[in-house]
């Protein structure tokens, strides 16, 4: 809660810094902001080609597969992109922290928010893709699509918590930055993004292990809404929100624990 209060106090500054982040990323590139649309579009194109003509995985309820994959990949990119940037955000902004007075909590927030904006810019691509496949009779249109903002809440909370924790930890323990990439890789394959847990042909032990991944419920909520077209079960909602709140609570607690020494370590 203290973190939320601090963030609210600095909202104007956070807004300006998010703008800077987006501006700086696209400055001097010819297509500018269109990259936010183009990136997911190209990604979708690549996956569509690869998984239609090279591999064609079969999972129950996962047709058309490129769309199934995309609906899992989008929120994952929000999470993993923010966490990856989060591991360097305090170091990158070291001069502001150490030479100008600057509250450290704004930088993880800026990281999460700018990735959220990229995500929101990519959503129209997903929407268009579902409309196109519905028109081509490949897949019924998911009328639950409008619930996306609700599905995003647990993702934002989880991502926020992770980014807050990772940002201070990677300042104090420099190994974190190398570690984070590998952990994300592991988590990617341990999450039901390129597969669905239902149709997975693996040993029972591994299946039980995979079922413990806290991200499962978040992936399920998002995919139910934008792909399958059904309202997630109350249990799924509850689990997803519980994971989000737990992550936020733990992440901000870790952050506050290390906050005072950030400037010295950065």
């Amino acid at each position: 809660m203290t973190v939320l209060r601090l963030l609210w106090k600095h909202r104007a500054l956070i807004a300006v810094l998010v703008r800077r982040e987006l501006d700086a990323r696209y400055r001097a590139s010819f297509l500018g902001f269109f990259w936010s649309l183009l990136n997911p579009l190209l990604l979708l194109a690549v996956y569509a080609v690869v998984f239609t003509y090279i591999f064609s995985p079969r999972f129950p309820g996962a047709d058309p597969y490129p769309l199934f994959l995309f609906s899992g990949l989008l929120p994952w990119l929000l999470f993993s992109g923010a966490v990856l940037d989060g591991s360097v955000t305090l170091v990158d902004n070291g001069p502001l922290l150490a030479k100008v007075m600057c509250p450290p909590e704004i930088f993880p927030a800026v990281t999460v928010l700018s990735h959220l904006i990229h995500h929101l810019l990519a959503l129209p691509i997903l929407l268009v893709a579902t409309v196109v496949s519905a028109a081509a009779d490949l897949h019924p249109f998911p009328w639950t699509f409008w619930m996306v903002p609700l599905a995003l809440i647990p993702w934002i909370l989880t991502t926020g918590g992770a980014v807050f924790a990772i940002s201070v930890l990677s300042v104090h323990y420099r190994d974190m930055r190398d570690l984070v990439g590998h952990l994300l890789n592991l988590l990617f394959f341990a999450s039901p993004i390129i597969y669905s847990l239902d149709g997975l042909q693996v040993p029972a032990v591994l299946h039980r292990l995979l079922a413990l991944n806290p991200l499962n419920s978040l992936v399920a909520v998002y995919r139910d809404i934008v792909f399958t077209g059904r309202v997630p079960s109350p249990m799924t909602w509850l689990t997803a929100f519980a994971v989000g709140v737990a992550s936020w609570w733990l992440g901000t607690k870790v952050f506050m624990h290390y906050r005072e020494t950030v400037v010295e370590a950065v």
Binding site: V16, R27, K99, V100
Partner: protein, 412 residues
């Protein structure tokens, strides 16, 4: 009170400065903690120890000392960038730290956007920044470059913009870490002039510098830090003298040439002491100044003590430059004041509506004497003053003036 700084038994310890590198590894965190339960003392560095200091609003204090003595740590604590390990730091009012000019400018975005971000970090809101933007651009002297990405700036433009945005925030307390050394001469002159004007407005300043001439012309009071402790504190001249003698002592095995040289340079003084001058101060704004912007209103305040009442007395001041050139002399007799009696302690001020001196160093002789010249107290070089101005000009007189013309065509 706004603009005051108070350090109370402040101690600052840096941890995690291990021999191998300053960042702990995960492995280290796990194993050491498991083995010893706590970090060893070898990983601690005491940067400041037992610092007590009160700076009143409007005061200018200098921090001097060798590298690693804790000066920058002091500034960062005062700026709220670091937290003390023990003790308390209280600073009232808006604080701006000039630690590295242009620190945190993002290279990819324009100067204008960087100014907005830095301004907000310094506590301004967007509207205030927009309203100060012309002034900032003018001071930074970067013209249309303000709308170019900062990465194409020359280093001079960079530091000028950094300084301009920092001082535009109208701080109550300004913390300055050696930043005047980074620019060219013209930049330093403009900065110094700006600082002098802020001083006259009553901004509290703490200056860290190795430039002892700057320190003596800038600060009323100095704090000499050595290995995190206060080695000396007091009037700037005596603390600087002490520091100089320590440095000379370190270098030449304890000879005190530097401090002797300093005492020799101190003013000669004579008289029968019937009336004694106690202090001579140049007051601008509310506080005594050693640095004054050319053209500022100010007063030279002489306070005196009467040992034996006299009926024949003249107060006089004489300004001259460091090279000995006479600038001006005036006294109460020339001003038509006829003395009657001087029996009790008091003050006499010579008031200048505008100090029309060209930038440079000036010395002031102050005297109280009888009309026939018998000196009660004649104090040469009683005061040293540095006059600043945004532009350099030769000579000693800086009259307010303008040019009028018909014919020539000027670029604005």
């Amino acid at each position: 009170m706004k603009g005051s700084i108070r350090f109370d038994a402040v101690r600052k310890i840096y941890r995690w400065r291990g021999r191998r590198n300053r960042h702990e590894t995960l492995k280290g965190a796990f194993f050491r903690r498991r083995l010893t339960g706590h970090r060893s003392a070898a990983e601690e560095h005491v940067a400041l120890d037992g610092i007590n200091l009160v700076v009143d609003p409007g005061e200018a204090v200098a921090l001097i000392g060798p590298n690693g003595s804790g000066k920058s740590t002091f500034l960062k604590l005062a700026g709220g960038i670091l937290q003390p390990t023990e003790g308390t730091v209280e600073v009232e009012g808006r604080v701006t730290a000039l630690i590295e000019l242009g620190a945190g400018f993002h290279p990819e975005i324009t100067g204008r956007e960087n100014v907005v971000i830095n301004g907000m970090l310094l506590g301004l809101d967007r509207r205030e920044i927009e309203s100060k933007m012309p002034e900032i651009i003018e001071f930074a002297d970067i013209g249309t470059f303000i709308d170019e990405p900062v990465k194409i700036y020359s280093s001079g433009m960079y530091v000028r913009l950094g300084f301009a945005v920092a001082v535009a925030a109208d701080p109550d307390v300004l913390l300055i870490d050696e930043v005047l050394a980074v620019g060219d001469e013209a930049f330093t002159r403009r900065c110094l002039d700006r600082l002098a004007r802020m001083r006259q407005r009553g901004v509290t300043m703490v200056l860290v510098s190795h430039d002892l001439d700057l320190v003596t012309s800038f600060a009323d009071r100095a704090l000499y830090l050595n290995r995190g402790r206060v080695a000396a504190e007091g009037p700037t001249d005596s603390v600087v003298a002490r520091y100089r003698s320590d440095v000379a002592g370190d270098e030449a095995g304890g000879d005190l040439k530097a401090s002797e040289a300093h005492t020799a340079a101190e003013g000669r003084r004579w008289g029968n002491s019937d009336v004694e001058i106690v202090t001579v101060e140049l007051i601008a704004g509310a506080n005594p100044q050693r640095l004054i912007a050319s053209g500022s209103p100010c007063r030279l305040r002489i306070s005196y003590k009467v040992q034996r009442p006299v009926e024949d007395f003249v107060f006089g001041v004489a300004w001259h430059r460091a090279d000995g050139a006479q600038v001006s002399g005036h006294n109460t007799e020339l001003a038509g004041l006829v003395p009657r009696r001087l029996a009790s302690d008091g003050e006499v001020s010579c008031v200048y509506d505008s100090l029309q001196l060209a930038p440079g160093d000036y010395f002031v002789d102050v005297a109280v004497h009888a009309r026939d010249g018998l000196a009660y107290d004649y104090w040469c070089d009683a005061l040293r003053v540095k006059v600043t101005s945004a532009v350099e000009w030769p000579g000693v007189w800086a009259p307010p003036h303008r040019w009028e013309s018909s014919g020539p065509i000027w670029d604005e």
